[in-house]
Amino acid sequence: MSGSLGRAAAVLLRWGRGASGGGLRGPGVRAVGSGGGSGSAEQLDALVKKDKVVVFLKGTPEQPQCGFSNAVVQILRLHGVSDYAAYNVLDDPQLRQGIKDYSNWPTIPQVYLNGEFVGGCDILLQMHQNGDLVEELKKLGIRSALVDETKDQDSK
């Protein structure tokens, strides 16, 4: 999937105005290793509700193993969302299948806000582009970093 990966990276470069490279990991990002056996609906229900922002990735926020998972990490970073729980489905086949069944969504990454399934990479990207993500984060009491940034610039 290196082609898609390259393209996703290109998309990110376009968003990435002013965003520095370097440490991807915000102070509060928890890459959570699952203790195995995390495939049942009840367990997943508790998992997605435990934190305000929960993502299921291929890889970790520091080292995403897939362009789409990377895109999700980068979007959150752009918005200054540093406190979220990230689960690596590559560590746990049960989790990988279980979360797909739980959300009735066929692909990884998956994003949950306030325990609600939001979508995958495409949806998060479009929410980022049309401003919905800023609003959704606001509902969670999270102020997007982009709100402050756009104030300093002329409207794009």
Binding site: M1, S2, G3, T107, G120, D122
Partner: protein, 86 residues
Amino acid sequence: MELSTEYLREKLQRGMEAEHVEVEDTTPNRCASSFRVLVVSSKFEGKPLLQRHRLVNTCLAEELPHIHAFEQKTLTPEQWARERQK
């Protein structure tokens, strides 16, 4: 399972009663395992993104397990018209 862009295009066209469908093979070597689709359908009207994408996922439920990466864009005819004017 061999998937072709044309096969997916026709299936989406029929299943989504789509006005317009574009399917692009995004696999680096065109081995048909990654796709990006654009679906324009009046079925999307009044539906949030998540529901639109779910409709497309349902339409391709048999095929998706064989697809490695799948990107989708879902527009109503009105949104599509606006997009083309840009």
